[in-house]
Symmetry: C2
Subunit: 425 residues, 2 copies
């Protein structure tokens, strides 16, 4: 592990400077994402500012050859939706050697309803779990949402439970997945609280001021919170899963890039704790219906497609609100073609239409003007209606008992793919 830490230090130096990057009209931090450009944030500049690395074609090739036979690279990787990373190489080393690692992702339960943008990390994480047969921990930061929003603690806890049902409905394997809310797991696990304390001792107010932009008038709960999102990056926070006193396992965190500040901080403290730095795979933001100047947000109903929306609501929202890259008139559109870079329907198709050939056909037809705005909207309406209906069907099956199973700290079963030996620990 120590070699790998050094390696990671060489590759992508982390720092505790403020990278919120509010020049160029793009602003990205864990609470706010805005862009002055209709095509969304400049992700190359984000990579440069955050100090992460581009997921290159070479890396994708290596990733692809590490896949089990018959498995295709997920379209989120093929299409640059998970576009940035930190230390993906050590994870690929593990995969190639048939060694273990674990996945960690999460959700801040600010509302009871998820929108389709919230599915991105979960869809991708499920694919990683299925493909590599690895354990997964999912954190619901109910304490964070309590601290940041004016909500009652009972409200965030209720939101978290609703969100967990949606997350489970994504199809995670209960034998390999532990889902927890902070208020529940902190009050169950001494190991977790002790890791939080260890991180809190290593991070100063100056550092969180730099990383997160906290100020003197912020409450002390916010100031200390980043340690709570950091702690699940270390497998020692989960003795029931990984064994008491066991070596800290390597962690891969799939998340939207706005969460990177937490893990820059985590990677800074990891060597001081003699823990491996977590690796990251960062996604872009799903644009709001109104366009990529903001990401989809649960607080703006007409700018988002919710997992609770009816087929009719989806149709109406897309038709009414989805920003179009098409021409001002049919004639103009036929002549000049549509702009896929800013067209929200096309952008959503990139996220949710798995069929590459179909997507490419749409791109050609829309760019050339052969396909009209109403037609591309019809394509994404169909895709989203199917996605949401399938999700709603799956969610219906999620009982309180199933939620409790996922939320019980316990030994997980995972099979090491390369050796097919059961390596429960």
């Amino acid at each position: 592990m120590s070699n790998q830490i050094e390696e990671s230090q060489q590759q992508s130096p982390d720092s505790t400077e403020n990278h919120q990057c509010n020049d160029d009209g793009d602003f990205v931090d864990p609470w706010t994402v805005t862009s002055s450009s209709q095509s969304g944030p400049d992700y190359d500049k984000l990579i440069a500012r955050f100090g992460s690395a581009r997921v290159t074609d070479d890396l994708l090739k290596r990733f692809e050859s590490a896949l089990p036979a018959g498995t295709k690279l997920h379209h989120f990787l093929r299409r640059g939706i998970f576009f940035s990373h930190r230390d993906l190489e050590p994870i690929l080393n593990k995969i190639e050697k048939g060694e273990k690692f674990f996945l960690y992702t999460g959700r801040g339960p600010s509302s009871a309803s998820l929108h389709v943008g919230h599915l991105i990390p979960f869809i991708f994480t499920k694919w990683l779990q299925d493909t590599f047969d690895v354990p997964l921990v999912i954190q619901l930061t109910d304490d964070e949402k309590f601290l940041w929003r004016g909500l009652k603690i009972e409200e965030v806890k209720k939101h978290a439970l609703e969100n967990i049902k949606d997350i489970i409905a994504c199809g995670f394997d209960v034998k390999k997945t532990f889902i927890f809310t902070d208020t529940d797991y902190i009050s169950k696990s001494r190991a977790f609280y002790e890791n939080i304390l260890k991180i809190q001792r290593l991070v100063t107010f100056n550092q969180v001021k730099g990383i997160f932009g906290f100020g003197d008038s912020d409450c002390i709960g916010k100031i200390a919170f980043p340690a709570i999102q950091a702690a699940p990056s270390f497998s020692t926070s989960f003795p029931q899963i990984f064994g008491t006193g066991s070596k800290c396992q390597l962690c891969l965190i799939p998340c939207a890039i706005d969460q990177d500040p937490y893990f820059r901080m985590t990677r800074d403290v990891a060597p001081k704790l003699k823990y491996p730095k977590p690796s990251l795979l960062h996604s872009t933001f799903l644009p709001a219906l109104g366009g990529a100047m903001s990401k989809m947000s649960a607080s703006d109903a007409n700018n988002s497609i919710f997992l609770t929306d009816t087929a009719n609501q989806i149709k109406n929202k897309i038709n009414k609100y989805a920003f179009s890259g098409g021409g001002g008139s049919v004639e103009e559109h036929r002549e000049k073609g549509g702009n896929c870079d800013v067209d929200v329907s096309y952008q959503y198709l990139r996220y949710f239409l798995d069929d590459d050939d179909h997507l490419e056909q749409i791109r050609c037809d829309y760019s050339s003007g052969k396909m009209l705005t109403g037609e591309i909207k019809k394509e994404i309406i169909t895709v989203l209606q199917e996605l949401v209906a399938k999700h709603q069907q799956a969610r219906k099956e999620i009982t309180t008992e199933i939620v409790e199973q996922f939320m019980t700290p316990r030994e997980l079963n995972f099979v090491n793919t390369s050796t097919t030996t059961t390596t429960t620990k």
Copy 2:
């Protein structure tokens, strides 16, 4: 309860200003107590600066008449050792009406060995518990000592367990007492963590900067910690003791006055949480052997009498190190007499010799020069040898099972003194 909050607001306004008071050569905060005067800090000025209230003779008279028949006011009260308070009146109201309240005190487990100064709050708290038959919670802030000192988490946990044995040896009733370490109880009790979060949301960095003198280079763990010492002031942190969803009980906190900043902060947030403000009784500091310019400290062996010291060590330390208020020579002493205000042996007798007549005799004889330094030292040596021997005997009986009993969150049994009705809840 709301009446009482308003009442307390009128009586002793709390504030979040910095009252560490480093003018006049006295410095008092939860981590450092020093004075430029041989007789110790100017406690009247401390009261004025902290905004607390003097324990007046009138208040003591009221306290005395509230005592059960046959009970005498504790000599810590009679002699002004618990000299300052915040809102003692609402507690006396409760006592007079035969209503419930609870006690909360604590210890920061910075070392495995306690000195006799550490006993002060525990001796007094035990008297309060015995006299008023009320439940008591005792907090061991192992997380605080982990965050402040360069100690490993295992070390502070070990210290805490040793300290708990000493605390139990003070004679607390297991049926009425819950003792906990933060790392243990936070990872057991969701109610406690939720109260911590509620407090953390209401306190800004600016406020803890003002109250505790924290700076930008302090770690985020320190900055958030005050909420953890505040939370046990609210009975809702202990649903197993006080019942789930029960009304927040009134709390009395006996502690040395250096801990007041934590509870000033607590009292500021209490009304916002609709909880009653905790009441406080503040003690003076037991002087170090070298004199009252510093308080007894576990980190300076020759300046302290430890609970592990042998009779011989006690004798030698007092004879060698106890600062004397006597004359420079026997002749000078006989002529001018000794100065009890600075004489450490006399000061210790004030704390540890219960017999008022005997103490007064010593004071007269020593002040007049009739009693020599060697003789007053002999008096305190005998008292401390007995105290420590008795403590060591009691501590021998404290098994791991007894510790576990005290540390189990559970229903406590307490009898309401005025009605002698069992009011377990």
